[in-house]
């Protein structure tokens, strides 16, 4: 009901079209989409940058490499001159896109190239895990909310068990265990170090947070009179669920998508930072921050650059989520939150 009353249209427009039109008029959606679009484009062009522009291999250590800058030849890794003189100081940002634009990391690898490749992994894992969470939660929410009774009781208790653990603790424990052993679910076999592992783990740990509210919505919808009317016409369960209930639950689901992708991305970065997500030599924003940890005093850019990317992406996704929510329910904006 909520979204229909406030939007008055001269021409017949479905509630979905009205929401789309509101979204298209919302500045926040354009700002966030252009930020996200840029980041995705950069990630897609990672090989182009690495192989053609910078001509570097982002996954191989180059401890003895040298570059020529302003006519001088400098080695990429200089022995440290401070403290005990142990370790190395990699080259800082040159701001030249052909040579170590953002400098090098502790193993002499191009940070910019790694950042772009890392974006691919982080975005891919975050999006896949977020979508897995949404799809499974929708399924569980629909079944539990529609069937009610013991089916609901069993599903809800299982969700409670997952919910009982703090998300990060559960994700970390699962990752530590599965990282070495791999995971076998039926015909699916994810070897140790596979990207499917963090995707599955992150996808699962967030299910209760999405499935619960969806279940609640389904329960509420089930009591609405148009659902009773459908029962009264002799409609089958599948007809009632997919034609009457699902379309009315979709707005809530749509709002969850950008938020869950952002959360999954953050979790992926956290796991990778702890070395239990994406495995070397592959990169993700989390692993690059980890690489930069040792260089925090000499070359802070190594940790800052991926940190900034995470913040930017998460903020853009949340902004977009807000815009979607307001487009689907104009009353929230009027309330000002």
């Amino acid at each position: 009901m909520s979204l229909n009353e406030s939007a008055s249209a001269i021409f017949s427009e479905s509630p979905g079209k009205i929401a789309l039109r509101t979204l298209a008029r919302d500045k926040r959606s354009w700002i966030s989409l252009s930020i996200l679009g840029t980041i995705i484009l950069l990630a897609l062009f990672a090989p182009l940058y690495a192989h053609i522009i910078a001509k570097t291999d982002p996954f191989a250590s180059t401890l003895n490499a040298t570059i020529t800058l302003h006519g001088k030849t400098i080695s990429v890794l200089e022995p440290s001159t401070t403290g005990l003189g142990l370790g190395v100081t990699p080259i800082g940002p040159t701001w030249n896109i052909h040579k170590y634009f953002l400098g090098a990391d502790g193993q002499g690898r191009d940070v910019m190239a790694r950042l772009l490749y890392g974006s691919r992994n982080t975005l891919f894992i975050g999006t896949s895990a977020g979508l897995i969470t949404i799809i499974l939660s929708l399924l569980i929410g629909l079944i539990a909310g529609y069937r009610r009774g013991w089916v609901d009781a069993v599903l809800s208790r299982i969700l409670d068990v997952i919910w009982a653990f703090p998300v990060y603790l559960l994700a970390i424990s699962l990752s530590v265990v599965l990282l070495t052993s791999g995971l076998k679910i039926g015909f699916l076999h994810f070897g140790p170090g596979s990207m499917a592992l963090p995707i599955t783990i992150i996808g699962v740990v967030y299910i209760p947070y999405v499935a619960r509210p969806i279940r609640g919505q389904v329960l509420a919808m089930r009591e609405r009179e148009f659902v009773r009317a459908a029962v009264g016409t002799g409609a089958k369960h599948s007809t009632i669920v997919f034609r009457e209930i699902l379309p009315n639950v979709m707005p809530a689901v749509l709002v969850f998508i950008p938020i869950m992708i952002a959360l999954s991305m953050l979790t992926e970065s956290a796991l990778s930072f702890l070395s239990i997500g994406v495995q070397p030599p592959s990169a993700s924003w989390g692993t690059i921050i980890n690489d930069g940890l040792a260089l925090l005093y000499t070359r802070p850019i190594v940790a800052l650059a991926p940190g900034l990317m995470i913040v930017l992406t998460a903020a853009a996704l949340n902004l977009y989520g807000d815009a979607v929510r307001d487009a689907l329910d104009p009353k929230t904006r009027a309330r000002g939150d």
């Binding site: 009901m1 979204l3 229909n4 009353e5 939007a7 249209a9 017949s12 427009e13 479905s14 509630p15 979905g16 609405r224 009179e225 148009f226 009773r228 009317a229 459908a230 029962v231 009264g232 016409t233 002799g234 409609a235 089958k236 007809t239 034609r243 009457e244 379309p247 009315n248």
Partner: protein, 320 residues
């Protein structure tokens, strides 16, 4: 108006309160208790009563949107109370329900035309035929032809209720249970919708069970009226007889609360003591006895049966 199309025998609905482990036979709400009713073909039976008297529960049980806990609902050749939901599906086209809230009874995400067509789709009517029937019905309930492509949010309450009526008639039912179909509408719209009900009854040869709490509304449409109190029918009579000469003290009180617009109103106002008793703790004897102005000793101990007096039925030890 001769054969009963629907016979209700000893129909009951009890709700047992409490959770899975705390249910006890003590906390039982008797929403509807052993109701007997016959509804004749082509008539309109009005059911009135205060909120909580079980009239909506009764209506929903008739179309099996609520499970009865006892009794029979004989509709034509079927006992609706016994059939499984799966078996009932194909029969549902013969009896339809119209709901109270026209804002909640239309799926906000579907076009009006699709909403009216949906029952036909469920029963396997071909697409072209569905569209033809839906457009025809929308016209007959007084909506524009272009309503077909619109969405519920573009309509007012009265127009929405017309859509709900069109949907209920799509399957060409014999019996329509209308649960307070006009109480959510503006008074000015109520009369229009009530007249639509009457017109459609003639046109489609419908039998109505018309549930309401507004006595004026019920009188306008009903041939016979059943008055319910605390899950029981206390009086059942022809509409005019009931209004001119109520026999049960509760009916009298109910009618005296209905304002009249002329000076000839010399009736005494009967103001009932107290509230409707808690349906968990029903009074012993006649359920109306704690509030009845004429209650005697026998009313506190013995429950009166619904007895025939002339053409009507009254459940009172001292009918007038």
């Amino acid at each position: 108006m001769s054969n009963p199309i629907l016979s209700i025998r000893n129909l009951s609905k009890n709700y047992i309160l409490g959770g899975a482990f705390t249910k006890s036979s003590k906390d039982v709400v008797h929403a509807v208790e052993k109701v007997n009713l016959e509804i004749m073909e082509g008539e309109t039976l009005g059911i009135v009563g205060e909120s909580g008297c079980g009239k909506s529960t009764l209506g929903r049980m008739i179309v099996r949107l609520e499970e009865p806990t006892g009794g029979e609902i004989i509709f034509e050749d079927l006992d609706l109370a016994k059939e499984s939901h799966r078996a009932l599906r194909t029969h549902r086209k013969r009896f339809q329900m119209i709901f109270q809230d026209p804002y909640a009874s239309l799926n906000p995400r579907r076009q009006i035309g699709k909403i009216v067509e949906e029952p036909l789709r469920v029963h396997g009517v071909a697409k072209q035929e569905r569209k033809r029937v839906a457009q025809d019905l929308l016209r007959r309930v007084g909506l524009d032809a272009n309503a077909y492509e619109k969405y519920p949010h573009e309509f007012s309450g009265g127009q929405r209720q017309r859509v709900v009526i069109a949907r209920a008639l799509a399957l060409n039912p014999r019996l329509v249970v209308a649960d307070e179909p006009v109480s959510a509408l503006d008074v000015s719209i109520q009369a229009q919708v009530l007249n639509l009900f009457k017109d459609l009854q003639k046109e489609f040869n419908l039998t109505y069970v018309f549930i309401a709490h507004d006595l004026g509304v019920v009188r306008h449409v009903s041939d016979r009226i059943a008055v319910m109190y605390l899950g029981k029918i206390v009086e059942l009579a022809d509409a005019n007889d009931l209004y001119e000469h109520p026999m049960h003290p509760y009916t009298k009180a109910l009618l005296s609360a209905n304002p009249r617009m002329d000076d000839s109103d010399t009736r005494e106002r009967i103001i009932l003591k107290g509230d409707i008793p808690n349906p968990i703790n029903r009074p012993s004897g006649c359920v109306f006895n704690p509030r009845c102005p004429k209650a005697q000793e026998i009313c506190k101990t013995e429950s009166p049966q619904l007895i025939n007096i002339g053409k009507r039925q009254v459940s009172c030890h001292f009918p007038e």
